[in-house]
């Protein structure tokens, strides 16, 4: 499969997830199949109760399916033990959460390093890489700051840097702009686009159409099944100048906050 012209970041086949609640069984996912080629930018949408969160947990290897397979780089995640799942999460997935989820007692650079810490890859070289990533998201001068000293947008940029540190198969963004104002949202989306342009695969879960419009492809779930899976028509794309301007403005905002 990896020999084909477009390699697959993830292959999902007939994924089902049932929850047993007392007497009744809730079928949160009823057989979902799709491929995510490398370099794709997918928005997963759907109303609450559609199985969106369940799919997210499965894609994030935080949970295991009741039935079906989830191939991540050729390994079927569905059959793994808890420890193996942890290793997969540390090495192959880049998480970006709605509420940033940085660790309060760690500095910016230490937060970025956390996945490497759990992979056991902490060394001078990895520190250098973490610093580079912090610079890339415009926080090169705030390496020693604590999350509480940063704005929401800055924290989310740290989280994005963290999601990149292990060079993951894909970035999994869960409502990544849900807590941010429109300016900062744009800043984050511009960053995502830039990463995607550089070849990173991004899967984001969102309920906002404006956010989904930035993706290349939308998968809409309804009642645990895929309602549609299609490319975004009239995709909103930031121009290179726009990206630079947004990054510059964010940089200025960061500096003036000091």
């Amino acid at each position: 499969m990896s020999e084909t012209s477009t390699r697959m970041a993830a292959v999902i086949r007939d994924l089902q997830k049932h929850y047993v609640l007392k007497s009744e069984t809730v079928r949160a996912l009823r057989g979902v199949s799709f491929d995510v080629p490398e370099g794709d930018y997918v928005a997963i949408m759907g109303p609450s109760g559609s199985g969106k969160s369940t799919l997210l947990n499965l894609l994030g290897c935080l949970d295991q399916p009741t039935h079906g397979s989830f191939l991540l780089g050729g390994d079927d995640v569905a059959q793994m033990t808890d420890d193996e799942l942890s290793t997969i999460r540390a090495s192959r997935i880049g998480f970006v959460f709605q509420s940033y989820n940085l660790i309060a007692q760690l500095s910016v650079v230490e937060n970025i390093e956390v996945p490497l810490y759990y992979m056991g890859n902490l060394n001078a070289q990895s520190r250098k890489r973490s610093i580079e990533l912090a610079k890339m998201v415009g926080l090169g001068e705030r390496l020693d700051h604590r999350p509480t000293q940063l704005s929401g947008g800055q924290q989310q940029r740290v989280a994005i840097a963290r999601s990149l540190v292990n060079d993951p198969y894909f970035i999994l963004a869960d409502e990544a702009t849900g807590n941010l104002d429109s300016v900062t949202t744009e800043e984050i989306l511009a960053l995502f686009q830039r990463l995607n342009d550089e070849g990173k695969t991004i899967i984001m879960v969102t309920h906002e159409d404006e956010v989904a419009e930035h993706a290349k492809r939308v998968i809409r779930l309804r009642d645990g099944e895929i309602q549609f899976d299609k490319p975004v028509e009239g995709r909103k794309v930031f121009t290179v100048e726009q990206i630079q301007e947004i990054a510059h403005n964010a940089d200025v905002a960061t500096r003036s906050a000091d």
């Binding site: 935080l62 420890d83 942890s86 090495s91 996945p115 060394n123």
Partner: protein
């Protein structure tokens, strides 16, 4: 490197709540310090008790005369003699082969006066009739002059040796040597030939282990005492007289070797009770046996102290567990993040365990330092008490004033080891609970 990171992270997490961490450490700190303190004080007290018993002489057997309860109803015509006699003293010396020597002692409460200085009031003290061996056997040390000599005892000389505090009281500004001490109740004069060194009170010759004060004693030849004061002692108190008749207050039997003491004690007892097995007017005290008893008591005492200390450590451990459980709940979100970012269950266990172990090690080390300060703190508080509340200090039991806390070396590694074990033991449950949280639930936790 990774372990270093874990420890660094643990420390950072703990410093996030400095007050909480401090209080948790305090629990262990108190536990460890109290292990060391209680054992040190226990050791100090039992050493002191042992020393006092040894002062009696492990190779000695002591026979005290006991005045029977007065059954005559105050009719002092029927005074009967009680206690050990000079004959018995001689008998023991002559018949028991393991006996090295026997010391006859007779004691009376008396007033002592010095007529040469009108400003000095008579002092209540104890008049001790004894022989020249007495100083050696009871380990009295001479400051000036000499102790009673064999010749002075043989010749019934009216000479005396006085204890240090009595010398200070009667002769505040004079040299007591060669002065005459006057006994107003007996109307006798004794010439001072020696002054003793200051000495701490020690276990009673009666063997009651209550401290006995030697500091107001006057020692005269027992022969002189008999010749001048007879065996009958009459006291007037208020309008009535009381009288008692006894030859000796005590005999101290010195045995040739400590190993022979138990056997000799049996022989001595048999000799004294040969006519009346139920004789009530003597008591035989064997310091050697007391010493053996004291060793057993010491062991129990140490166990008791250790138990109290162990309880305080366990309480400290429960404090750790309590805090760590609260911490786990509070940091559920963080645990979720760490799990999502690839932390394995054992990584989470390790993380929380490192925190509790850090707490208990810090508590352990500071507790040990505090424990080592025990002798200093006790000295300082004694000094403070003596300075600011001298009456309270004087009211303290003798042993509390002279006892030297002795750090038991083994208590340091033991206390430290227990503190770490407590940290692991009480930290393990919260840590495992943290690791077993469902990452999805944990991430959702607000």
């Amino acid at each position: 490197m990774l372990y270093f990171r874990t420890v660094k992270l643990g420390t950072k997490s703990l410093l996030l709540h400095p007050m909480r961490s401090l209080l948790t450490v305090l629990g262990i700190f108190i536990g460890v310090a109290s292990v060391i303190w209680l054992l040190a004080i226990g050791e100090g007290i039992s050493k002191e008790a042992q020393r006092q018993i040894e002062d009696l002489g492990a190779e000695n057997i002591i026979i005290r005369s006991i005045q029977p309860p007065d059954e005559s109803g105050g009719n002092f015509r029927q005074i009967t003699a009680f206690g050990v006699t000079r004959n018995e003293c001689k008998l023991i010396n002559d018949t028991i082969s393991t006996v090295k020597r026997v010391l006859p002692i007779r004691e009376l409460s008396q007033k002592f006066a010095y007529t040469g200085n009108p400003n000095v009031k008579p002092v209540d003290g104890r008049l001790v009739g004894c022989t020249s061996d007495y100083a050696e056997v009871t380990r009295l040390e001479i400051e000036r002059g000499h102790f009673l000599t064999t010749r002075e005892v043989e010749l019934n000389r009216p000479v005396c040796v006085i204890a240090a505090r009595l010398a200070d009281k009667l002769f505040p500004s004079e040299d007591p040597l060669n002065k005459q001490i006057y006994l107003p109740e007996k109307k006798e004069l004794f010439k001072i030939v020696g002054v003793l060194k200051h000495r701490n009170a020690t276990a009673a010759i009666g063997g009651s282990l209550a401290a006995q004060d030697f500091s107001l004693d006057i020692y005269i030849p027992v022969t002189t005492m008999r010749a001048r004061m007879t065996d009958q002692e009459t006291k007037r108190s208020g309008g009535s007289f009381s009288s008692k008749l006894f030859e000796l207050s005590q005999i101290t039997v010195q045995v040739k070797s400590a190993d022979d003491v138990p056997r000799t004690a049996e022989l001595v007892e048999a000799t004294l009770r040969q006519n009346d097995p139920n004789r009530q007017d003597i008591s035989v005290v064997v310091p050697y046996e007391l010493l053996e008893q004291a060793k057993t008591t010491r062991l129990m005492f140490m166990m008791f102290m250790g138990l109290i200390a162990a309880i305080s450590l366990i309480v400290g451990g429960i404090g750790i567990m309590n805090i760590m459980l609260a911490t786990v709940t509070e940091r559920t979100r963080e645990i979720g993040i760490r799990r999502a970012l690839g932390g394995k269950q054992r990584d989470i266990v390790l993380q929380f365990l490192v925190e509790t172990i850090t707490l208990s090690i810090v508590g352990g080390i500071t507790g040990i330092l505090m424990g080592l300060l025990c002798p200093v703190v006790i000295d300082v508080s004694r000094w403070g008490l003596e300075y600011f509340a001298p009456q309270l200090y004087a009211g303290l039991p003798e042993v509390a004033r002279v006892m030297r806390p002795t750090i038991v070396p083994i208590s340091i590694p033991v206390a430290f080891g227990i503190s770490v074990v407590v940290g692991v033991f009480f930290g393990l449950y919260p840590a495992v609970r943290a690791a077993q949280l469902d990452p999805i639930e944990a991430l959702r936790h607000e």
